[in-house]
């Protein structure tokens, strides 16, 4: 039983961290119809910015997390008028935008590799620090990462449901034309979408690097399929769905390794489990947990 509870804890932490990145993908697809294949590399960018600030500049992890969130957000915002807006104006289709995002992903990853070099990196944190409660082990980085991710999820959910800006973002996902008719500048909203998606990716990246204890330039790329799986599981274009999908997926992937579950699935097959869970959900609910069939 202790093993199962440990896996639940691990699943919630990993799931909440991935849910942040998935929510960013969903915001961008919902609002701008761009499948942001570069989201994984935005995560990696966040992890390396935090490394530079916390270890390089010796400003500590809190400053590192803040810098990762802000810098990745700023990077995503800068690309809106430089790259995405001109493509929208030129009426680029979903496939053209997707291929552009793939290219951006490659450029970004190689850029990080060029700037930071290869090899595995670690933050200056005590990887062995942990709380022990009733036989359960709660590593400090995982507790901090999980708490930060859950706080970010709550903040995002509150923004979307309680503020006029959040309602406008959800409205944009329903109908960009009606949003403009209602007096809201769609270009301004696009900037907000990228700012949020970038911030979520940056935060998710640094928290994931904390949980995994060491990382390289493939950090986000390695999680990209899982992130997209969470987006589809939650319902494409639904940001709330992506948040739920991420946590559900994290739990399913961890619980599948439980020894009480027919000996447990080897950890290397966790992604397979994620996709089996995705297919199972889609067979029952083709639009995902909170998705609406209208979106795709």
């Amino acid at each position: 039983m202790t093993g199962l509870l440990q896996l639940v804890f691990d699943g919630v932490v990993v799931g909440a961290v991935l849910a942040l990145a998935a929510a960013g993908v969903s915001l961008v697809y919902g609002g701008l119809r761009i499948i942001n294949f570069a989201q994984g590399d935005y995560m990696t960018l966040g992890a390396y910015v935090a490394l530079g600030v916390s270890s390089g500049l010796r400003l500590g992890m809190v400053a590192g997390v803040a810098a990762a969130t802000l810098c990745t957000s700023a990077f995503a915002v800068v690309l809106e008028p430089v790259l995405w807006r001109p493509l929208r104006r030129a009426r680029a289709g979903v496939l053209s935008l997707f291929v552009t995002a793939v290219g951006l992903s490659l450029v970004l990853r190689q850029g990080i590799l060029f700037a930071a070099g290869g090899g595995f990196q670690q933050y200056r944190v005590d990887a062995y620090s942990a709380w022990q409660v009733s036989g359960l082990r709660f590593p400090t980085e995982e507790v901090v990462a999980g708490a930060a991710a859950l706080a970010a999820i709550l903040t995002l959910a509150t923004l979307l449901s309680r503020t006029q800006l959040g309602k406008a973002l959800r409205g944009l996902a329903d109908s960009p034309e009606l949003t403009a008719i209602s007096g809201i500048d769609p270009d301004r909203l696009a900037v907000v979408v990228w700012a949020l998606a970038g911030a979520l990716a940056g935060l998710s990246g640094v928290l994931l690097a904390l949980v995994e204890t060491s990382f390289d330039t493939n950090l986000g790329w390695d999680q990209l399929l899982t992130v997209f799986c969470a987006v589809v599981l939650g319902g494409i274009g639904s940001t709330y769905g992506a948040l739920i999908g991420g946590i559900v997926l994290g739990l399913v992937m961890e619980l599948a390794t439980w020894s009480g579950f027919a000996g447990g699935v080897p950890a290397s097959y966790q992604l397979v489990v994620a996709f089996v869970a995705l297919v199972a959900v889609l067979l029952v609910r083709p639009t995902g947990i909170l998705g609406r069939s209208r979106i795709l």
Partner: protein, 249 residues
């Protein structure tokens, strides 16, 4: 008694899709606080005209003016769609006229754009559409066609527009919902809002309109007071399936 001054004027408007012009040189004038209808057969260019007037379809020629009471004219032909609400213009499109995944209340709140809604503005519009108050928390995608149309109209009215453009608001509605809709349009008109109505229910629109334009093949064909056009046998024969002055359906 002086005739009401025009508020919206379109001059020689040309607009279309791809290579083809759907409307070619359409002109119209909408008097302040009046209800003006645009009728015509399918494919006449009615909805295209409305989209061009609101900037959703950038006109290829001609211009659209908003005339202030002081006599000044504002050329809004190239004004971005999202800036029109601030000028007092509102549009209820025929399709995609609500946010289906948002609640009724959230739809109304977004009618104010990014401005924080005041309780007074929402209360005012809910007074005009009392049925919506009971369904404020309902997701709009689950509403009936008539209820959705009501939300669309209410969303447009939250900002207290000076000019309301409506694209086929009665399309697909049950007869009782059509009656309710026209009652609401009458109430909106009493408030002094200027309305331009594109409508497939030509008889009903002409019977209510202070002035009307008949569009055909993307051009002006006839214009005049709504009831006069309704009584005109030529128009009845060509566009209303005969029987001039027959009751509105």
């Amino acid at each position: 008694m002086t005739a009401p001054s025009p508020f919206l004027v379109a001059e020689d408007l040309v607009a279309g899709y791809g290579e083809a012009d759907v409307i070619s040189g359409v002109s119209l004038s909408v008097a302040r606080a009046s209800l003006v209808a645009i009728v015509g057969p399918n494919g006449a260019g009615k909805s295209t005209l409305l989209r061009a007037l609101f900037g959703l379809l950038p006109p290829r020629g001609g211009r659209v003016l908003l005339l202030e009471e002081g006599g000044s004219a504002l050329d809004v032909t190239r004004v971005a769609v999202h800036r029109r609400a601030a000028l007092g213009m509102a549009l209820v499109p025929q399709l995609d006229n609500i946010f289906p995944n948002l609640s009724v209340r959230e739809n109304l709140e977004l009618g104010l754009g990014l401005r924080r809604p005041s309780g007074e503005q929402l209360a005012e519009v809910l007074e005009l559409f009392p049925m919506l108050a009971a369904r404020a928390g309902t997701r709009c995608g689950t509403l009936s066609g008539g209820q959705r149309q009501m939300v669309a109209l209410a969303r447009a009215m939250v900002r207290r527009p000076r000019l309301l453009l409506l694209d086929e608001p009665s399309a697909g509605l049950a007869p009782s919902a059509v009656e309710e809709l026209f009652d609401q349009l009458a109430a909106i008109k009493v408030n002094g809002t200027t309305m331009l109505l594109v409508e497939q229910n030509a008889r009903r629109a002409l019977s209510e309109a202070d002035w009307a334009y008949v569009l055909d093949m993307g051009r002006n064909r006839f214009e005049g007071p709504g009831p006069s056009l309704l009584a005109d046998e030529r128009i009845a024969e060509l566009y209303l399936g005969g029987l001039a002055g027959a009751p509105a359906g």
